[in-house]
């Protein structure tokens, strides 16, 4: 070992010692990294509580959601709530104290939430919604709106319309007794590059489409049967598989193993070449190779989300003001059309190998990934000049896109549909028939929770559940769910609002950081059965 060890008394300070901020947010930076944190800190979230007094108006769910955004340091928040604090608020809302009684609920919750994090700025709007909301530009400061039910349909419509028009997401939260729900209204297109796919499902090793340098690495192995035991036992499993694929193809008319049966036969071939007469009685690298056959001997992956993206109009017809995302997406599409594969992500799993051999192979993958990024970048630059775009897209953005190209997703709201609660309140037939058809396959029976919470979406005419089904058993379920909501008259249970507030905050973080995949539709939580479900209503 030649590694030099720093003697204790001269341990130099680390070049990358964490800052105070990195220390405080360490546990979340490990999830969404500095880029996600920056996006969060650049955000301003608006929480709107309806004016019509009905129990606690889901205000606890809203405040709990805000708590979970203030702690990780959302930039700013504003609470719009015209109510005054009542004694019953004190028994359900943790961000009020005895001094808060009869004061503005917006102002008091703002005060106690602000205590949680000095890095965050809080504001309160105490005038009724009907007064400030219609004013021109009233919603301009915000890039996410969380609305607490019930909100009169006229106001809710305005919120939905504004959010769609300015391409920001909005969330509608409902919580009463044991039941809660939230719906997300997405902009017409919501692209996500960093979807954080499961690392197990994302390997792209190109075993069936090796590029020349990878092929050359297999050539350089020579005849492996003549290698000494140590070298034979340290060939990285990827090279083992590529080596035997050549042999297989030579005996199978140039075809690779494709069916399950062929792959197991191929695995047997690999296994039969492992040396067992060595002191260990086997070879770990061959074990790894065998274990990887079924998963890795596949054509280079491309997710359906990425295919959908490439077919979208926004991807195929660029304009000078297309978002960066679409300019890169278009270049990726051209790359795919030229090569039949996406840019290589370039990451390599750990495997049995000597340090030097592993690093060599790793560099091979990285070099190929870099050259693919360079090609995509050339296309992007060409497009930029064709469209006479004024700013150039940062290289880091192109690189991040290439690294996760297969798993990029674009969620859409093509028909500009507002929250289902709003559509239901206005008696929209399409929404009612959609609920009716969803109920037919609702095995977990969670949709009745949503029906119950929205039975009075239109206060002047309660929902007729017989319009949703003719099945007597289901009708009874719907009636019971409605009664379960009625018996609490808009009163929240703290635990249930805290569950739904937590879920809403997770979604808000995904929407604001543009990382992970948000719920596309409506989520319900049934606190009686401790179950949740997601529906596209």
């Amino acid at each position: 070992m030649t590694t030099e060890i720093a003697p204790r008394d001269v341990t130099p300070p680390p070049l990358q010692a964490p800052t105070a901020k990195e220390k405080k947010y360490d546990r979340q930076l490990r999830l969404w990294a500095a880029s996600g944190q920056r996006a969060l800190e650049d955000s301003h979230v608006l929480l709107i509580v309806g004016d019509e007094y009905q129990g606690s108006n889901s205000s606890v769910a809203g405040v709990e959601a805000l708590k979970n955004l203030v702690l990780p340091s959302v930039g700013s928040f504003t609470i719009a709530d015209s109510a005054q604090v009542t004694v019953s608020d004190l028994g359900v809302n943790f961000f009020l104290d005895s001094d808060s009684l009869h004061k503005s609920r917006a102002e008091e919750t703002r005060r106690l939430l602000s205590e949680l994090n000095p890095d965050v700025t809080g504001h309160a709007i105490t005038t009724p919604l009907a007064e400030w909301l219609p004013v021109e530009g009233s919603l301009k400061p915000y890039n996410l709106i969380i609305a607490c039910a019930p909100i009169p349909s006229e106001i809710l419509q305005r919120i939905c319309f504004y959010a769609l028009q300015s391409s920001i997401p909005a969330i509608y939260v409902q919580s009463a007794g044991f039941y809660a729900s939230f719906s997300i209204q997405l902009p017409s297109a919501f692209p996500i590059v960093d979807t954080h796919p499961d690392p197990e499902s994302t390997q792209d090793l190109r075993l069936l489409a090796p590029w020349p340098e990878l092929d050359a690495a297999v050539d350089s192995l020579g005849d492996i049967s003549s290698l000494p035991d140590h070298d034979h036992g340290h060939i990285p499993y990827i090279l083992i598989l590529l080596y035997f694929l050549r042999e297989w193809k030579a005996n199978h008319n140039g075809n690779s193993p494709s069916t399950f049966k062929e792959k197991t036969e191929f695995r047997d071939l690999v296994r039969s070449r492992a040396r067992v007469d060595n002191p260990e009685g086997g070879e770990e690298n061959f074990d790894e190779a065998c274990a990887a056959v079924l998963k890795s001997i596949t054509p280079p992956p491309i997710d359906s989300g990425c295919k959908e993206m490439m077919a979208m109009h926004l991807c195929t017809s660029l304009s000078s003001d297309s978002a960066n995302f679409w300019v890169i997406a278009n270049a990726i599409k051209q790359f795919y059309e030229t090569h039949g594969v996406l840019p290589l992500p370039g990451s390599l799993p750990d495997m049995k190998a000597t340090s030097a051999e592993y690093i060599k192979l790793q560099s091979l993958y990285k070099a190929k990934a870099r050259s693919d990024v360079a090609e995509v970048t050339t296309t992007v630059r060409h497009t930029e000049s064709l469209l006479s775009r004024e700013t150039t897209i940062p290289e880091s953005e192109i690189e991040a896109f290439c690294r996760n190209a297969s798993h990029v997703r674009v969620l859409t709201n093509p028909a500009h549909e507002p929250f289902p609660s709003l559509r239901l309140g206005s008696g929209d037939h399409k929404t009612i028939s959609r609920i009716a058809s969803l109920l037919e396959n609702d095995w977990e029976a969670l949709l009745p929770v949503f029906v119950g919470l929205n039975a009075r979406a239109n206060p002047s005419s309660p929902l007729d559940v017989t319009a949703l089904t003719s099945d007597p058993e289901l009708l009874e379920t719907l009636t019971k769910a409605t009664a379960e909501v009625e018996r609490v008259s808009g009163g929240e249970l703290h635990n249930i609002s805290s569950v739904i507030g937590g879920m809403v905050a997770q979604e808000a973080i995904k929407l604001l950081t543009r990382q992970y995949v948000p719920v596309d539709g409506t989520c319900v939580f049934d606190g009686i059965r401790s179950k949740s479900g997601v529906y596209k209503i």
Partner: protein
């Protein structure tokens, strides 16, 4: 069945003292078709709730939420145990703590905060370990809620509560509600000790990460993690022998980081950073406020249901995934099975297949990684003889020669052994079956 809505609503207004609890009382004072038969809406149930003494284990990310939730669910007599002090990296989620609290006891600060915010609730903190307390102490509670990050502590309280059950005394059965989170994921579970699947029955669902073989660390490192583990396990021992590594000491972490970095340079391995060094050495699990909020509230919802019977409680496991690439989020609620061969609550010994040629030493080391055992410093005996014990020293020395013997020379095929570890009061029963 149809329910006349009017009959469900409470009439008249609450007394001034109860007015604070208007919304909770709507649930506890009206009937619901979903409530169990034993549910008695009204005063009796509310009194039972208020007189239930409950124990919260852990005052960290989950614990802070749990204390808030219990106080706002009408519980009045809460105890909380935590041995930790507040660190700056807690502040992104442990919302009962402020920067000025850094260094103070978590249990004490959390208890005082919630008591002050919610008048009428009494919270008794204990700044110490759960192992300091005996059965008599645990017997005083109606139920126990855990918000822990340590598997060891969960296994300890689980074994203790199982052991406390006296079939002749129903009061001795203390429901255990357990929450856990990692990043955007988590789980909430309800355990009725001896009656339903326990933490030990479910141990293999939370398998430990496979350790990197020492020879990889020593001779063929490939990943930045290998270099850090090398600095942590091998270099420290060599260069700072006798000094106890304190993963909270910045000088220690910096030394490990520099050492790992030098090794990585030597092998051309990219990616060693200070943050990764900390993560590997301290085994840091990402944690965020929102996930803790979801899991803690799901747990407290079960506590309220168990204490009042106002709705059926969870049977028995809710898995939560907030980072699904398919649906955004999903939950999976199911009944985990009670195992007859559970070493804690089962009455059969558990089969373990071993290679008879294996040495005792290797077998004991393998117990740490086996998902169903996860024992790090085990002692082992057969019915007839002691094979190896970790302590006291004299016994350890006496049994040490067995470590190098082969299993086939120590036990027979199918023989039952007892494995004990100082961290738990119970002994695990395994039946050793010869195989490969």
């Amino acid at each position: 069945m149809s329910i006349p809505i009017s009959s469900l609503l409470t009439n008249g207004s609450a007394t001034p003292a109860r007015e604070r609890w208007t919304y909770l009382d709507r649930v506890l004072s009206t009937t619901s078709p979903y409530a169990g038969e034993e549910f008695v809406p009204g005063e009796e149930t509310i009194d039972a709730l208020e007189s239930s003494r409950v124990l919260v284990i852990g005052a960290g990310g989950l614990g802070c939420e749990i204390l808030k939730n219990l106080a706002l669910s009408g519980f009045k007599d809460i105890h909380v145990i935590d041995m930790d002090t507040i660190d700056v990296s807690n502040l992104n989620r442990q919302f009962l703590f402020r920067e000025s609290d850094v260094g103070k006891s978590k249990a004490e600060v959390a208890a005082a905060f919630v008591e002050q915010r919610v008048p009428g609730v009494k919270i008794t903190p204990y700044n110490g370990k759960i192992q300091d307390k005996d059965e008599e102490y645990y017997m005083q509670f109606k139920l126990v809620i855990c918000g822990l990050d340590s598997i060891e502590a969960r296994r300890w309280i689980n074994a203790t509560l199982v052991d406390m059950v006296d079939m002749g005394n129903p009061e001795s059965l203390k429901p255990l509600i357990d929450g856990g989170t990692e990043g955007f994921k988590g789980q909430a579970r309800v355990i009725l000790p001896t009656l339903t699947s326990c933490i030990e029955c479910q141990l293999s669902m939370h398998a430990p990460r496979a350790a990197v073989p020492l020879c990889t660390l020593a001779t063929i490192p490939r990943q930045p993690q290998h270099c850090i583990e090398w600095a942590h396990i091998i270099a420290w021992e060599e260069h700072r022998k006798g000094e106890t590594l304190d993963t909270d000491d910045p000088e220690h972490i910096t030394w490990l980081y520099n050492t790992a970095l030098a090794r990585a340079k030597e092998f051309n391995i990219p990616g060693v950073t200070y943050s990764l060094t900390q993560g590997v050495v301290k085994n840091i699990i990402p944690a965020i406020a929102s996930t803790n909020a979801i899991i803690a509230a799901a747990c407290c919802n079960e506590a309220l249901k168990i204490a009042t019977s106002c709705a059926p409680f969870l049977e028995n496991y809710m898995m939560y995934t907030g980072d699904s690439n398919d649906s955004g989020l999903y939950t999976y609620t199911f009944a985990a099975e009670k195992k007859d061969d559970c070493p804690v609550c089962g009455n059969l010994s558990q089969d373990i297949t071993i290679d008879p040629e294996m040495r005792l030493e290797e077998f004991l080391a393998s117990l740490a990684e086996r998902a169903e055992a996860q024992l790090k410093k085990p002692s082992i005996r057969t019915e007839a003889k002691t094979l190896y014990v970790q302590a006291p020293k004299s016994l350890e020395e006496q049994t040490r020669p067995n470590l190098s013997k082969k299993m086939k020379d120590l036990v027979s095929d199918g023989e039952e052994v007892g494995v004990a570890e100082a961290a738990f009061q119970i002994s695990f029963k395994f039946r050793l079956v010869f195989g490969k």
